[in-house]
Amino acid sequence: MALIEIKNLHVSVQGKDILKGISLTINAGEVHAIMGPNGTGKSTLSNVIAGREGYEVTQGSVSFDGQDLLAMPPDARARAGVFLAFQYPVEIPGVSTSAFLKTAINAKRRTEGKPEIDAMEFLKLVKAKNKALGIPDDMIKRPLNVGFSGGEKKRAEVLQMTLLEPRFAVLDETDSGLDIDALKIVSDGVNALRGPTRAFLVITHYQRLLNYIVPDYVHVMAGGRIVKSGGKELAYELEAEGYTKYLAAA
């Protein structure tokens, strides 16, 4: 069943057309990868899915689980199960990572009609996830993303995803800035969440990530369009040949 359905999506930013007719259907249980050169609109697509301000949808639609996603405010999308691992996670000074995580978890629990998470239960849960992701427990005492290294920021994104267990997660270049060990750990985190009810859209620059998170489908994006789609072998092809021919086509 289609979990997310993007139809002929056109988006402009400050009057400039960035996405020029994206269509993409992702079923529950699938992992799709989008690859493409810088500045082609990959983050624009993630932001539009998540509901960030400043993007004008001039044509097309996005539905999530049968609902009109574009009509929902960003927090409602999140509570419905849409998660974005940010390419550039935002720093929130003064707010400890643990306070942030707890508030986010409780927002979700409220939607599910559950009571707020108990302090002990929260700690136990976070510690378990930290361990799996190779995150030192001390990290959650620090203000969210403030002074985090690139790798720490990306791990913190995956930690949040793991705790919130979204139904659809977009990972926007979560692999950039990670060394090979971190990459493996983060990929394991994603793979652990894979399952028949969940879907992922993995945006990456490098084929390397797809060795660890093996996608069902790969799409090449250039000039605001999906110019080619295929199976996981398409990633190898791109690695070998580069994007040049697609850029010319776009």
């Binding site: 998540a50 935002v90 986010a104 203000p143 949040q160």
Partner: protein
């Protein structure tokens, strides 16, 4: 619309003041206006001794000479107050003081409940002694017996005037002289109630002392008077918190609080102030002109002020420390939140007189809507205060672009061996921060509350536990859009 702009709008839209309700307990009112007769009336109502009346009259006559000398140096704008258009005495209709809570007007108790102050439960659960002030007259005092046994005096100041005149005469006005400023002179002439605390030598007061203030009578100025004395080697933590019903007309509140810490004594004074701030167009709201000052009179004494100021249309308040004793310490922790058309001009004065005195100032100002938020602080180190130290940190957080934040630090250092350090920052809640939080499922209000609470954590964590939780909620509520 951009998320920040939306926040600005939603915080501007705070409609019904969350604690807006009026209890219709009939009041025993003095006629409107201020005159020598009114001062005599108040004193007679309180059965005061002659010295007290004389003292009030002196203050009143002095106030008359100040007629046109209301302070104007603060960054505040408000219409001129007609002091003859106010009532200066109002008492709930209760002829005899209640002996227990059972005798307290049930409607009154209901009001406290709405405010989240369940007296009965408080008595049982928290061990907090409550001297509840309702419209200038104390109606319930709990835990009095236990405190009595320890030698602590915690009572309405009018009772202290009767029962402990020697302490009152010795200390009242010893920190804040009658002529200190316009509002102090006014308060000294007409104050109707407030609290008195005396902690005996060497006692660490085992419970937090707290007073909840309410303003309930229409057009009634409130002139509370608080006097706290910590004798040698003692410790006390005092909590003051309040919420008030919604109303239309501006209300003047001019309290005076004096603290005295003798050798090795420590006083911790915490306030959560949440009076009606006026509506979103700036109509109504409390005018809060408060003089709070503590004297660290003894060696190695310490006074710590913590305030969370979220209410009032106008806040004019500078809890200060006079560091007289060698090695004494003054600390000031403040969160001031202004929204809509609120104006706050608040800060502290640290006057270093004794040797090796230390002071610390942590101020967090949060402005939203069309509000104006000013930190004004003075650090004065006198010539003989060898080795004095001050550390000041003032942080401002802006929500939207129609509010104003100002920092006005004055530093006067006359001692070559003293050191002062000042830091200041201004930041804004970014759209990207709000979006990030909302992408994790938080509502915009939750996101604002989380970010603001993070910003003021350093101050909130100095509050006593039971107050800290309340204050965190208040921080969220006061910036909330619509009532949640």
């Amino acid at each position: 619309m951009a998320a920040t702009a939306k926040t600005v709008e939603t915080v501007r839209d705070v409609e019904a003041y969350k604690y807006g309700f009026v209890t219709d307990i009939e009041s025993d009112l003095a006629p409107k206006g201020l005159s020598e007769e009114i001062v005599r009336f108040i004193s007679a109502k309180k059965n005061e001794p002659k010295w007290m009346l004389e003292w009030r009259l002196k203050a009143y006559r002095y106030w008359l000479t100040l007629a046109d000398e209301e302070p104007t140096w603060a960054k505040l704008h408000f219409p001129k107050i007609d002091y003859q258009d106010s009532y200066y005495y109002a008492a709930p209709k209760q002829k005899v003081g209640p002996k227990s809570l059972d005798e307290v007007d049930p409607q009154l108790l209901e009001t406290y409940k709405k405010l989240g102050i369940p007296l009965l439960e408080q008595q049982i659960l928290s061990g907090v002694a409550v001297d509840a002030v309702f419209d200038s007259v104390s109606v319930a005092t709990t835990y009095k017996k236990k405190l009595n046994e320890l030698g602590v005096i915690f009572c309405p100041i009018s009772e202290a005037v009767q029962k402990h005149p020697e302490l009152v005469q010795k200390y009242l006005c010893s920190v804040v002289p009658v002529g200190d400023n316009f509002y102090v002179a006014l308060n000294s002439a007409v104050f109707t109630d407030g609290s008195f605390v005396y902690i005996p030598k060497g006692l660490r007061c085992p419970m937090e002392l707290s007073t909840y203030f309410r303003i309930n009578e229409k057009n009634t100025g409130q002139f509370e008077r608080t006097l706290i004395i910590a004798d040698e080697g003692s410790y006390v933590s005092y909590l003051e918190g309040c919420t008030a019903p919604q109303r239309d007309e501006n209300q003047l509140h001019a309290a005076v609080v004096e603290l005295i810490a003798l050798d090795n004594a420590e006083i911790k004074y915490s306030t959560v102030q949440n009076w009606y701030p006026g509506d979103k167009d700036g109509k109504g709201g409390i005018y809060n002109f408060v003089t709070k000052r503590g004297a660290c009179r003894g060696k190695n004494s310490k006074i710590m002020w913590t305030q969370v100021e979220t209410g009032s249309a106008i806040t004019w308040k500078y809890p200060s420390c006079i560091l007289q004793g060698d090695g004494s310490v003054g600390e000031f922790y403040s969160v001031a939140i202004t929204n809509n058309h609120q104006q706050a001009d608040t800060g502290t004065k640290m006057i270093h007189i004794g040797k090796n005195t230390r002071s610390k100032i942590i101020s967090k100002g949060i402005s939203a809507g069309k509000s104006s938020n000013t930190y004004r602080g003075l650090v004065r180190i006198q010539g003989k205060a060898d080795g004095a130290r001050n550390y000041t940190k003032c942080d401002s957080l802006l929500i939207g672009s129609t509010c104003g934040a100002h920092t006005v630090p004055y530093i006067e250092n006359r001692s070559p061996t003293a050191q002062t350090e000042h830091e200041a920052t201004t930041s804004k809640i970014g759209e990207d921060q709000l979006f990030y939080c909302m992408q994790r499922g938080m509502t915009q209000e939750e996101a604002v509350s989380l970010i603001v609470n993070g910003f003021c954590k350093e101050v909130l964590q100095t509050l006593p536990m039971e107050f800290a939780v309340e204050a965190q909620k208040l921080v969220g509520v006061s910036l909330e859009g619509g009532v949640g």
